[in-house]
Amino acid sequence: MSSFSRTLANNAAWEVVRLRRSRRSWLLAIPVVAGPIGSALADLYLKVASVATAEILGLLITGGLSALVVLDLSALAVGEDLTLRTHLLTFTLPQGRGVALAARLLVVTGGALASYAAGAGAAWWLAGRLVSDQVGAAHPILVPLHLFLGLFGFLSFLGGVVAAAAVVTRSSAQALVAGVLAGVVGAGLASSLLLQHQLNATFPLALLGVALGGWGWATAGYGRIES
């Protein structure tokens, strides 16, 4: 095993230990459990008139919950050690700091996205069981599959922004605030583009690009921290 892959494996395992010990691992269950339940309640309470609209509703509810999870886990994965100054110990270990952080981000972002996928899949499935298309129902505002895929870009965007913010601020709390603000801006932009009928695949891809930039910047910056 190369030094790179060994560092990835060691730190991925370390993040799993941290998630388990802090009980933050339970957060990953929220989109899977609360997403479908919330979606089902909304479908029934609002008497949604079409399956596609119910699917969109379910995706938005599950995506919103997943956004909170990815924000929290990413902020803590990067910022917790810097806030507590635990990095003074871990940075003296014989491993690349950036690779170590990348492994930890991979676990939390991957976990949150997998949780979203599972919750969204369940919400989608329930929508088809609980709702039937009614005559005269309005057209859905989005193609559900597009929204399902686009939300991966949005969640990644939040993870990337929070990771970069945590390196800059060296505080998980401040990074979380930055992530929430970024989420509001992202959602606002998406709504605006939707109203102008200009929301297409470019937007989530651009969000994914920002996410990659954020992660890259965070891992590079993490390796340069000196105090």
Binding site: N10, V17, R21, L84, R85, T86, G96
Partner: protein, 315 residues
Amino acid sequence: MPSEVLVVDHLSKRYGKQAALREVSFRVHRGESVGYLGPNGAGKTTTLKLLSGLCQPTSGSVRVADHDPSTDRDRALGHLGAMVETPGIVPYLTGGDLLSYIARVKGIPSRDRPGAVDRAARPLVTGDVLRRPFGTLSTGLARRVLLAATLVGDPEVLLLDEPTLGLDPAARHDLRGLLRGLARAGKTILLSTHLLEDVQEVCDRVLFLREGALVGDEAVNPGGTPFPGGGEGAVRLRFAADVPPELTRGMGPPSTRVVVEGPRQLLVFFTGGESAQAEIVARAIRSGAPLTTAAPPEPDLARRYLEKVGRQEAT
């Protein structure tokens, strides 16, 4: 393998316009235990940070076991156990979690990890301490676990920054004993501290740092090492009355230098062994002055600290 495991060569570090270190050079040989003394802001922690790869030098270089921590991080830091400043602790993690992670990063195979963790922790903590979250441990216990973390993988070199800070007197005593044991076992130790007692009890050499510059590099205990004037030993003479003037002017061979430490006290450096010391004591008695005690001087690190570094913060 080179005998110099830590090489600091014309090392400078600036933080913006502030010079933290200025052209510092020293070498630490395998098996040496070296104290690193200086007031706050002298650059002690910065030096340790540079040696442990936490930051990069502005100019000059550091090498750990012939590897540069900046460019050959894995090899250089693989030789180190470092505790720089006071690392924070994640309250929900246990000591066992932390030590196992470090063992893993240091490449210890999974079957050997429990043994490596146990060997590192045994001298410092007992019972179920490693199974308890850091948040439930006292400051002293948590510090012991952090010290144990530096010992995981049996590193050749230990860089310790104020390791006894926050420990009660008994724990501090125990820790000094542990460090002495590690030094005797051949570990190379660079110990940065404000506590002169730590250096006195653990180290055999001391470096003095002042305002980012090295201002002294000498033995901690001058006994058996060159004395001022080329002597080999020293004896402190105390009298019940004022010292006769003829003694203060010099005592002739085998003495090499006489230091008047007060109206009733002399410190006499000499060449030769116990017979030379006996000769000096006999001369003092023959002078007719009422000699009360004659004993080797205790290593006067505090005095030397004040001479080298100044009056700030000697403890």
